[in-house]
Subunit: 338 residues, 2 copies
């Protein structure tokens, strides 16, 4: 069996996560049992939600265990199979974690899914046509549920969720306004992703200036907001929400390190009769086929042009992940292993 390189969570962060929380481990991949397949990973997915799982606090997902492979989504190729439904050469999406190979009991429902790479590159199944894409779809379609002509806003606009959100919202006739870090990401959101406007949060580092920028970019106010950062940006958006606005809440990166992250004026929820809903896309699997179909079509027709930040090699995963938490990625952050 091949040698496997793995990244373990070595210890939990206190405050900010650092590279020393991780450890590189080498091991032999075990021999396959009946029903199992061996998958060679081509790409690892790095996602902001992983930071929350590093803490040992009550959250929606069980904590990532210490001294075990760091968990996460993967795409790859079956290299050996003792399962009738899979053969060597099959391209698959799974949850193999930060390692070069994984042994998967492919008879477990949802553990592995074959994908077609004729029109969609394999890596996109971790981004635009994967979990982040469906996350954007669910928040937009099921929570914000915009009418044509309404204004919707999303943070991390150039990222995996944001870029899918932009394409999905434009397809519904919305005015789509992004928020991103730096002029390059903002330019990309407008020119490549079709956003109507994009606000650079680095140039608007406080509630007052962000609120003014939002007023200019959203002359008719904000009807829907996809929240995945938190902090002062959320406060600024709150000041621009229209009556009966909807807020889909799916991440609060700014708070993962344990820094206090209060919301300045929750009374605005009442004043504007806002509907807010927190969600986790893995709890709504019934909508994935419908969402993935729409996302795949948007990619195939060139209406969704996702961008990827690719780190090379398993050892690069921790630093790439820490960079993602600081917004250093540009588009979907991946680790390429082959």
């Amino acid at each position: 069996m091949p040698l496997n390189q793995q990244i373990f969570l070595d210890n939990r962060p206190s405050g900010e996560a650092t590279a020393s929380n991780f450890r590189l481990v080498r091991s032999e991949t075990p021999a396959l049992q009946d029903g199992q397949v061996l998958v060679r990973h081509h790409y690892l997915s790095l996602d902001p939600y992983m930071r929350g799982r590093m803490n040992d606090t009550k959250s929606y997902a069980a904590s990532q265990p210490v001294g075990a492979v760091f968990q996460g989504g993967t795409v790859g190729e079956v290299v050996e199979s003792r399962n009738d439904r899979y053969a060597a050469g099959d391209k698959v999406v799974g949850f193999g974690g930060w390692q070069e190979y994984s042994v998967v009991d492919a008879s477990v429902l949802g553990a592995l899914r074959k994908v077609d790479t004729t029109h969609v590159p394999l890596s996109y199944y971790l981004g635009a046509v994967g979990m982040p894409g469906v996350t954007a779809w669910y928040g937009l379609v099921k929570i914000i549920a915009p009418q044509q002509g309404e204004t919707v806003v999303i943070t991390a606009a150039s990222g995996a969720v944001g870029s899918a959100f932009g394409a999905l919202a434009k397809a519904r006739g919305c005015r789509v306004v992004g928020i991103a870090g730096g002029p390059e990401k903002c330019r990309y959101a407008i020119e490549e992703l079709g956003f109507d406007a994009c606000i650079d949060y680095r140039a608007n580092p406080d509630v007052k200036s962000m609120s003014a920028a939002l007023k200019e970019a959203c002359p008719n106010g904000i009807d829907g907001y996809f929240e995945n950062v938190g902090g002062y940006i959320f406060d600024a958006v709150m000041l621009r929400l229209n009556a009966f606005a909807r807020v889909a809440l799916c991440g609060m990166i700014a708070g993962y390190d344990g820094a206090p992250l209060p919301l300045a004026n929750p009374a605005l929820f009442l004043i504007n009769r806002v509907k807010l809903e927190g969600f986790i896309v893995s709890e709504h699997m019934e909508f994935w086929p419908q969402a993935l179909e729409e996302l795949g079509k948007l990619v195939a027709t060139g209406k969704l042009k996702p961008r990827e930040s690719i780190a090379q090699g398993i050892a690069a995963a921790p630093e790439a992940f820490l960079g993602l938490l600081k917004g250093r990625n540009f588009g979907k952050q991946l680790v390429k292993l082959i």
Copy 2:
């Protein structure tokens, strides 16, 4: 025409509202035009939402104008009519404001509603079988939508909204936990209103002790929360919410005076996949008949025993209102005029 005593908003508060914001005015009631009726008010309704309308800030309702009668709900009797659908002696609910008489164009839809006082005392149409009762109904039935056996929590438990909420939730098989100010109100909530438990917020004046008290009163966590106070109580409830909890947000008394009222940890909305909705009951008139019917039956069958705090005479309205904002009332706060 009779002499009319009226309370005007004389000037807007800066910070806490005071009696000097109001002014007593005497005037003649004008002669009736065709379609109008003259109503003699028996009771004025005093409600927390009125504090918000004293400010000149953007809110869901237009501000209360300065130099005009203070607006609010009223019940009374038609004493003179130039409208075919009303006759002297009719008991009516309206929005006559803080004055002894009002001239109403009764042809305007919703301006006036005849009520039957055979089984429900007239004053109850301002409380349990009126706007506050329907507020409790909408928040419970349409937003919290509890399953039998779930735990629901409401602040101001002994007040007009809280008492109706308790009866409605018990009728749906919930565990109902109230929060109220002082042992007397808590005893009343349990013994007379049927709450399963009631927490005295005066004995639990910070997040930590309130959170501990909630843990004890809600051994299975909190599935639904009706929020009408805000501040540290909301923070404490947030710590006890179950996954998929619902929060109906209908008032934030603690913030009306302009004091900052942040929410400590909004990330809990995500962690627990909470659904929160702000609402104003007057925007959901289609549910009033259904809600009033259930509330009327609960009163008629003795399952809802609302309590009233009654101030006597128009001149007493401002002080009674300021007391309401500080929780000095016990049950629905009214002003009796005859």
